[in-house]
């Protein structure tokens, strides 16, 4: 019974957070300075009628919301306009219909752009995360198990080093190294391979993924390893581990059956948070290796004041962070039943 209440509470909270983000998202970008109808085109040939026509096409001629024409600069307008004819409610209505709008910049549907980029991001960051988690956990266990030995110190030192490396710097170094070993350094696939058999296409993508994934793995592996090691060391110092030892269990059994489950809690938190932000992409890695992911799309959209893309992308990020946290909460209640009763 308690478990369901706990679940329900968490889901309800997530729902309200998303609603809040929806509103914030809309207002945030309208407060930015700059006219999206002109961003990127500073040209005397651009006629007044053209700018006006572009505004009408993107619905920017409508008041932002009742009582406000624009938010930057703040221009007060009529409060009696039909609310359904304001930018805010058109945005909400479109979202309810699953419609994210058309990009101001490329005139393509936002949903198409985001889907395309999202898959690229999930592919890259997903692979990087899985590798980083696996290696981090394995090395973390190894280091904690062999605490205060040469193995521990080597693992500790290299993890600290990896964790503190600036991502873009490591990326550039790997880019130089990889390119002189024949690895591709830009994009997701070799242009012109889309007619090849599927297997060869995948092979090509994997080759392109190699360097960015490696960069990502190295940077995140260090973090996971450090957390895993210290959390496992804490658990290993507990009395019940001593009891287990006294019962004559071997080290592997102690780790597997007694220590790991408890030691995983802090790691689950960090993984959940990182996974949520996965969707935002790893802008630095994407920029170094020209990976066409979401991070780059968001950066471009900010520069061009491409509101529909920004709104869509931020909504996507918010939803995935919230869902990842929800999953983390639920995982806690499984790993540590005490969590529900709080």
């Amino acid at each position: 019974m308690k478990r369901y209440q706990y679940l329900l509470k968490k889901v309800a909270w997530s729902f309200f957070t998303i609603l809040f983000v929806l509103v914030l998202n809309f207002l945030l970008f309208r407060v930015l300075p700059g006219d999206p109808a002109r961003a990127g085109v500073r040209d005397p040939r651009l006629k007044k009628e053209a700018i006006e026509a572009i505004r009408v096409r993107f619905g920017l001629d409508k008041p932002v919301i009742n009582c406000f024409e624009t938010l930057n600069p703040i221009k007060v307008g009529s409060c009696t306009v039909n609310p359904l004819d304001t930018q805010f409610f058109i945005y909400v209505r479109n979202l309810l219909q699953g419609e994210m709008g058309i990009s101001f910049h490329s005139n393509r549907p936002v949903a198409d752009i985001l889907t395309e980029r999202l898959w690229n991001t999930i592919l890259l960051i997903g692979a990087g995360q899985i590798l980083a988690i696996l290696l981090g956990v394995v090395f973390g266990i190894l280091a904690a198990w062999k605490a205060r030995t040469a193995i521990d110190y080597t693992a500790l030192l290299s993890s600290l080093l990896a964790w503190s490396l600036p991502t873009f710097w490591l990326g550039i170094i790997l880019l130089f190294w990889g390119s002189s070993h024949g690895l591709p350094i830009g994009g997701k696939a070799t242009p012109g391979t889309s007619t090849l058999p599927l297997l060869q296409q995948w092979g090509d993508v994997v080759r392109h993924m190699f360097l960015p994934t490696l960069t990502y793995t190295i940077v995140y592996m260090g973090e996971y390893m450090l957390i895993m090691r210290s959390s496992l060391l804490d658990v290993l110092a507990e009395d019940y581990i001593l009891t287990a030892k006294a019962k004559g269990l071997n080290t592997f059994q102690i780790l597997k059956d007694h220590a790991l489950k408890n030691a995983m809690l802090p790691l689950v938190t960090v993984i959940a948070i990182n996974l949520g932000f996965t969707v935002a992409g790893a802008l630095q890695i994407e920029a170094v290796f020209s990976w066409p992911g979401l991070g780059g799309a968001i950066y471009e959209a900010v520069v061009r004041r491409d509101f529909p893309v920004l709104q869509g992308a931020f909504l996507l990020i918010a939803v995935s962070v919230i869902i990842a946290n929800l999953i983390a909460d639920l995982t806690y209640s499984y790993l540590d039943p005490r969590v529900q009763s709080e």
Binding site: R45, A53, R108, V137, K188, R305
Partner: protein
Amino acid sequence: MFLKKSVTLTFVLVTILSLALSACGGTAKQPVTLRIGWAGSPDTLNPGTAVLAEAWSIFELVYDSMYDLQLDGSYTLDLADSVTTSADGLVWTYKIHDGIKFHDGTPLTAEDVAFSYNFYKDNVDFPYMNPYTSYFDTVEATGNNEVVITLTEPIPNIDYQLVFLYVLPKHIWEGVNPTEFENVEMIGSGPFKMVEYKQNEFVHLAANKDYFRTPPVIDEAIFQTFENQDALVQAIKTGQVDLITEMPNTAVATLRNEPNIAVVTGAPFAPEVTDIILNQCSQESCPVDAGGVCSGHPALQDRNVRLALAHATDKQKIIDVVLLGLGTPGLTLIPDGLGMWYNNALQDYEYNIPQANQILDSAGYKDANGDGIRDMPDGSRPLTFRLNWPSDSINAPRTAELLSETWGQIGVSLQMQAVDPDALTAQCCPAFDFDIMIWGWGSDPDPNLLLGVMTTDQIPTGSSETGYSNPQYDALYNQQATELDKDQRKALVWQMQQIVHDDVVYIIPFYPQATQAYRTDRFTGWITDKPKVALEDVTSLVVVKPVK
């Protein structure tokens, strides 16, 4: 349990990797493919709504227009065999070449040309294409494969008005939504045809071997996007691409020392100007109705101050430090890349600090309170100027530092700040809420656009950045806009440059050069001996052939 999983995963990874390696070895005969690395990507393939220069590079290869723009700035007829003009200069009749075909096999006729021109004219929200049609009264196709353009007034540069108006196939564009049509199949009639386009990844083109003029020698051309300039340089070093269209100036020296790589520099295809904008808008000329604030420092309205600043600007040092030498000293808004229109007879203001000091002394700008900064002759305020630049500019911060160094020596102090480009636009014009800005222009092949920026008419529209107003200059501008004789128009254009240079409307530190590099062991035949450098232009891409 973790160990078991990771073993499985390792196995999967090893399998995938071995697949990846096996993918390298192909046996089929490969087409001759030229790989071009660049830092951008088209925003859209729809010529109506496109804004970015990368889109234009692709249009130039896939579409044809009435004229071709050569690398020396001249125009040659492309789609038409001949052109005749009525005596009053209003009616232009073009005879379209017979037998041209679109990439899908349909013939290109005068019908398609007239349709395209009217299409661009009818859609006011096409930011670039529509303005090129502003002088069109009517465009009609007659039998006999002729297009008749009737203008509203005679203009001297119809070649320039038509050169970017790409001819679209009527049977495809008729009835589409003009702005939302993505044009992914991109049926044109040019020397290259579209194979595949992935935004921000690549543009894959194939040669149109049936092209009615010289068809390309190569089979395919691929433009690949590298978001990072270091990666771009590394890609040509390691041979992943055969040509790069841009590079950071810091990479030029390294690439020059590489075997098998040639670096070429010159005026860019769209010539560029970096300018120091001096706000000369006074309270009297302030465009209040258009949102003018006009908070500019009054000293900048005095030619003596502007002249002193010009004399205190060490252009060569700026070029050497900021551009590592890859630029030419600037004179006016009309860059040297504009060929015959560029007034190369102008004598620039010499870098001479004592002379600059002397100009300010005799104009009455004395340091009244001894703080090292000169004051207005009436002592009302010091010569402290706000200096702003767009935050996305790579060159502006160092240019600003050098300016504050030399201008400091003539008793001028600067408050320097980078500003978000959009916010800067809002401050700039027609608000005139600034003192000095470092910014720039990309020029059209015709001088009309940039000359217009300095006319009085443009003060309220937001195109005039300086608020400069000179009736004599305005009159000359209108005169050159209707002067049909090329040489006489050139004389007028040169005279206008003389006037704005004398009045120190802008200080132009430099015209940046384009730097490109190609691999000498892959393709040969690049056009590098022209004033402008654009190896990705159709002029090079149709003639380059693989090295044996």
